[in-house]
């Protein structure tokens, strides 16, 4: 195909606004008469609320309302309705909102917070999901059995398990019996935070007419609308959610976070807008955190290096409330094998309530967690069996005709993981990639170098009927305005979607504008902007809307020329006669309705409409996990070369290579940016990031002084992104998702490189300089490190 716009590095329409600081985010908005809210957060991780006395706070000058959980009796929750906007009866994590003050300024609200008296009856705290699963562990939700929940969620009342997801394939016991080699290991991916640049913010106002508007930094405006309308008993049409630019989401602003609370607060001061913008510290314990998975892998392998069976136990830390962690459980299980065909499987994935802040979506959604385990495991198996690890992977690799853990048969257009592996190995230094441990340059003995790879796969984890829509209005100059329900949070989605629209409408990209905000009152419905599925799903909706536009234009031009629409073509902003292209009408003449010489109208204004829903997706079988819940798979491979200072233990990532088969690349510049950004984020979780709690469950590093993320100096000295472009048959112009995927293979690639450099296996992240030193001194043990 000959593309004009697809595959070009079209500039971001929002670029200038953002680099000059002119772009508007929720925290910049000011409403007339706006009030300010601040939240009193629980200082206890698990306790009964004995008394919340707000009388002194209420009496403070400038305070308009002080609100507690007593006011709001309806629970909410996307998958399980297990939480309240403000704690009632019980708090389940330190940071949970206990009361909120609405006042004329944040300062006054803060003063008032200090006057609220809370008495707690402390309860035993459980922070580790491996302990939370044990019989007799402190129970967080006594009423789990009575909570409403969506289909496919399988809680175990009387325990902390809010979801148990199973995969069963083949015969496991017999398989382990005939295995020549069995490898059994445990891995840990700790809880981390997304550290979005923009703090979570929401402004809510209940109008005197009884309808509610929420301006929010959300990735999921329609989920917010749904949740808030149910919580307040308002029809969806009376709840309006507006999302301007979002300054980074990474999943931590998906579903709902602070919006239910902001909406409830607005009802306490009808007619007044209430602004709730979190401080940096509150983002750590007052929204959702990410990851937090323990994994145990037991693998059966034959002498020939075939993986014949695997038993996997995944224990996910869900925190105080299920939130969106619920679906990470299933998503992690579905990808737990990595991109390999394993005929016999027993996978049990448990989501556990614990007394940490709730776990939500986090770029990669279960996939980096399980790949940390499975790709370390693959490396260890290969080493123990004396097989080249690249060769070992290729012997077991998933490909056309083979079936994944869900029983889906892979097809040609799913892409080439084998090719991705080969490209990364080639780039990392040809076939000698695995030469083993190496000294630093010039044979420096105090420095060791090593290389490692990790293959990966990821599907969007989404409802079987996740909907997207697009509306294209043609303007009088022949250009187009495209409305979508997807959120721009830095990823460049409006650029890529604009390119898809321009290509489909046969317009130059400058003639297409994607509306740079979402307003549920005017934007078409969108499930939410997550799961790296926007280019794919919304792109499909745009294709349909564009086709609708062209159909309308051809009908109109046909009427004007007195020919049938089938005889017409569209190109370069014109509709023309296929047989005689000089006979043409520009879109500009047709857009708002063309008139004949006598003034009579030929056509009506052109508005195109497109809606998309994935076809054929089904729920997995509750007993075996088999089914068709994953719409498309993106495969790839990542490789790292590391250098370790044997004296200080300091790790330097010299090179990071990603090869990804993301189908057709719509905008190479943005695509590379996404892959590299994701890799940088994952490098942070590999080497430094981890939320630390005191025994009582208080987060000890809830600030950027104490929680470090990588800076430019921490980026690998050399980075490469290689695109393998096997077109996706269900995607617009053959595109597949790629926004999260760059996170998935980085931790195991670096872990494997470190193992090769040091002769030590690390099982828990992050791997710090201190861990390296302990390993070198033979003091590792447990999940920290073991030398081989």
């Amino acid at each position: 195909m000959n593309f004009k716009v697809i595959g070009t590095e079209a500039p971001r329409p929002d670029g200038r606004e953002k680099v000059t600081g002119a772009a508007v985010f929720v925290a910049d908005l000011r409403m007339p008469g706006m009030l300010h809210a601040r939240v009193l957060r629980s200082g206890q991780a698990h306790a009964r609320l004995r008394r919340v006395d707000v009388s002194r706070a209420q009496a403070l000058d400038g305070v308009k309302a002080v609100v507690t959980g007593a006011r709001f009796q309806r629970p909410f929750g996307i998958c399980i309705t297990d939480q309240f906007p403000l704690a009632r009866d019980k708090v389940r994590f330190a940071g949970e909102p206990v009361a909120a003050v609405i006042a004329v300024s944040e300062q006054v609200a803060d003063e008032a917070l200090k006057l609220i008296e809370v008495e707690y009856d402390p309860l035993p705290v459980v922070l580790d999901p491996r302990e939370a699963i044990r019989p007799g562990a402190p129970l967080l939700h006594e009423d789990l059995g009575s909570y409403a929940r969506v289909a496919g969620i399988n809680p175990c009342p009387g325990t902390n398990i809010f979801h148990h997801f199973k995969i069963r394939r083949g015969e496991l016991e017999e398989t382990f019996h005939r295995a020549d080699h069995v490898v059994d290991r445990e891995y840990e991916f700790p809880s981390v935070h997304h550290v979005q640049l923009e703090p979570h913010g929401a402004i809510a106002r209940l109008s005197p007419g009884g309808d509610l508007t929420v301006w929010s930094s959300s990735q999921a405006p329609f989920v917010v609308r749904h949740t808030v309308s149910r919580l307040l008993g308002l029809p969806a049409s009376k709840v309006r959610v507006v999302v301007p630019y979002v300054g980074g989401g990474f999943g931590g602003k998906s579903d709902v976070t602070i919006e239910p609370l902001a909406a409830c607060l607005a009802t306490a001061v009808p007619g007044r807008a209430v602004r709730l913008v979190l401080a940096r510290e509150e983002m750590f314990d007052g929204t959702v955190i990410g990851r937090g998975l323990y994994a145990r892998y037991r693998t059966a392998v034959t002498r020939e290096g075939r993986i014949i069976g695997e038993e996997i136990l995944l224990t996910l830390n869900g925190g105080g409330y299920g939130d969106y962690a619920v679906n990470i459980v299933g998503g992690a299980a579905a990808s737990a094998t990595g991109p390999y065909e394993i005929p016999n499987l027993k996978i049990d994935a448990y989501g556990l309530y614990t007394n940490t802040p709730p776990t939500g979506a986090c770029r990669g959604y279960g996939h980096p967690e399980v790949h940390w385990a499975c790709e370390r495991q693959r490396e260890i198996i290969a080493r123990e069996m004396g097989i080249d690890p690249v060769e070992f992977r290729l012997r077991n690799i998933l490909g056309p005709g083979k079936s994944n853990a869900l029983g889906q048969i892979m097809e040609e257009d799913h892409g080439r993981v084998d090719l991705c592996i080969r490209k990364v190995v080639e780039d990392l230094a040809g076939p000698r990639y695995f030469a083993g441990r190496g000294h630093g340059p010039g044979g420096r003995p105090a420095v060791r170098r090593g290389k490692g790879i990790a293959a990966f796969m990821k599907a969007p984890v989404m409802p079987t009927n996740a909907q997207s829509g697009a509306i294209i209005r043609l303007n009088e100059d022949g250009g187009a305005t495209v409305s979508v329900g997807a959120v721009e949070m830095g990823q460049g989605t409006y650029t890529a979607l604009g390119q898809i629209a321009a290509e489909a409408l046969r317009l130059p990209v400058e003639m297409v504008r994607v509306v740079p905000f979402v307003d549920t009152e005017v934007s078409p419905y969108e499930w939410q902007t997550v799961a790296s599925h926007t280019t794919w799903a919304v792109g499909n909706a745009i294709l349909m809307a564009a086709a609708d536009v062209l159909d309308q234009l051809k009908v109109a031009a046909g009427a004007a020329f007195g020919v049938s629409p089938e005889e017409l073509e569209a190109g370069e902003g014109k509709i023309f006669l296929r047989e005689a292209p000089v006979v043409s009408l520009p879109y500009s003449r047709l857009a708002l309705g063309c008139t004949r010489s006598d003034g009579s109208a030929v056509n009506r204004p052109v508005i195109g409409r497109g809606t998309f829903v994935p076809s054929g997706l089904t729920y997995p079988d509750p007993e075996t996990g088999q089914g068709n819940p994953a719409a498309d798979w993106t495969f790839g491979c990542q490789g790292a070369e590391v250098e370790v200072d044997l004296r200080t233990g300091e790790i330097t990532v010299l090179k990071l290579v990603t090869a990804i088969d993301a189908g057709r690349i719509i905008n190479p510049l943005l695509a590379r940016g996404q892959v590299l950004g994701a890799a940088a984020q994952a490098l942070g979780s590999t080497l430094f990031e981890k939320l630390i709690y005191s025994e009582a469950g208080i987060m000890r590093n809830r600030s950027l002084t104490d929680y470090k993320i990588p800076g430019p100096e921490d980026m690998p000295l050399q980075t490469r992104v290689i695109f393998v472009e096997t077109p996706e048959k269900t995607g617009p112009y053959g595109a597949r998702g790629l926004g999260e995927h760059g996170t998935v293979g980085v931790p195991p690639a670096i872990g494997n490189a470190l193992a090769n450099a040091l002769g030590a296996d690390f099982y828990a992240l992050p791997i710090t300089a201190a861990d390296v030193i302990r390993a070198l001194k033979g003091k590792g043990g447990g999940l920290r490190a073991q030398t081989f």
Binding site: R647, T652, I692, N701, K708
Partner: protein, 288 residues
């Protein structure tokens, strides 16, 4: 969120000292505010008065006078220190430590005097000041006094400063020719971060070692005993090894969210050994 306080920016030293005399105990002096305002925002410090020192002309002085040495006023920023030719030439350890503190933007506000008055055990600029035997100049309405920086720190976030006193600047004697010095810091990330351990090391023209460290004890410390041991030995690679081993005996690090005491102890030894070895090999030289 910020509490309520009065903000004053005196134009003269007398004005400032009179203000401190009246309100000293409820006041906090402010230079760059990069330590202070973080505490005020978290309500960990709740001063009723913030007295900005940056309006006082004398505090802006950064001057090297040959034969006398270096004076760094209380408003001189860390970037000014890091960028000063005199500092880079004669006090390399100080220039390196200044360059390692936080980010460029932050160093545009942060001051050297603020760094030591804050008296964090991890203050990056304390070790170089210790090895150059800097003197802290303090004044109050009662008069002025000068205290060697080694006696300035009294505990975690504690100094000899009295409430009505302020630091006007710090002076460093001129190092004689042949002086070598450097600063090594280990942090969690390669980007800007507080140190897990910082080491300033100096080898004078008369082959006398000065060693000081941050983040390994309640205050930044000078390792006097270790220096004596080293000074009694001939310069050799084995000496560096020994310095690293012995340094670990003189420190008392704690475990916190940044590092375990175990790793601090380990890496302190590594950095001391490296610093000594590099000085012996001629690095960090100032050639007059």
């Amino acid at each position: 969120m910020l509490g309520n306080f009065d903000y004053v920016k005196p134009k003269t030293l007398t004005e400032a000292l009179e203000y401190l005399d009246r309100h000293g105990p409820e006041s906090k002096l402010m230079a760059g505010g990069t330590d202070l305002l973080v505490l005020v925002r978290r309500n960990l410090a709740m001063p009723a008065h913030l007295v900005d020192v940056k309006g006082i002309a004398e505090t802006g002085r950064l001057e090297f006078i040959p034969g006398q040495g270096l004076f760094i006023g209380a408003s001189v920023t860390v970037n000014e220190v890091a960028g000063s030719e005199a500092v880079k030439e004669r006090y390399p350890a100080l220039a390196q430590a200044a360059g390692s503190l936080a980010s460029h933007q932050l160093r545009n506000r942060a001051t050297l005097v603020g760094n030591i008055c804050n008296a964090s055990p991890g203050a990056d600029l304390a070790p170089p000041l210790l090895v150059f035997e800097a003197v802290v100049h303090m004044v109050s309405l009662l008069g002025s006094r000068m205290v060697p920086v080694a006696e300035f720190f009294t505990g975690v976030k504690k100094t000899v400063l009295r409430p009505e006193e302020m630091v006007i600047g710090v002076s460093l004697p001129e190092p004689p020719p042949g002086d070598r010095s450097l600063y090594l810091k280990q942090a969690r990330i390669k980007g800007h971060d507080l140190g897990i351990v910082g080491v300033a090391a100096r080898l004078t023209g008369e082959k006398r070692f000065c060693l000081a460290m941050s983040a390994v004890a309640p205050t930044p410390i000078r390792l006097f005993q270790l220096e004596q041991t080293l000074n009694a030995q001939p310069l050799s690679p084995a000496l560096a090894e020994r310095a690293g081993e012995e340094a670990r005996r003189w420190i008392h690090p704690i475990s916190d969210v940044r590092s375990s005491a175990e790793y601090r102890t380990h890496v302190a030894g590594v950095l001391v050994k490296r610093a000594v070895a590099r000085l012996i090999s001629g690095e960090g030289t100032y050639d007059a």
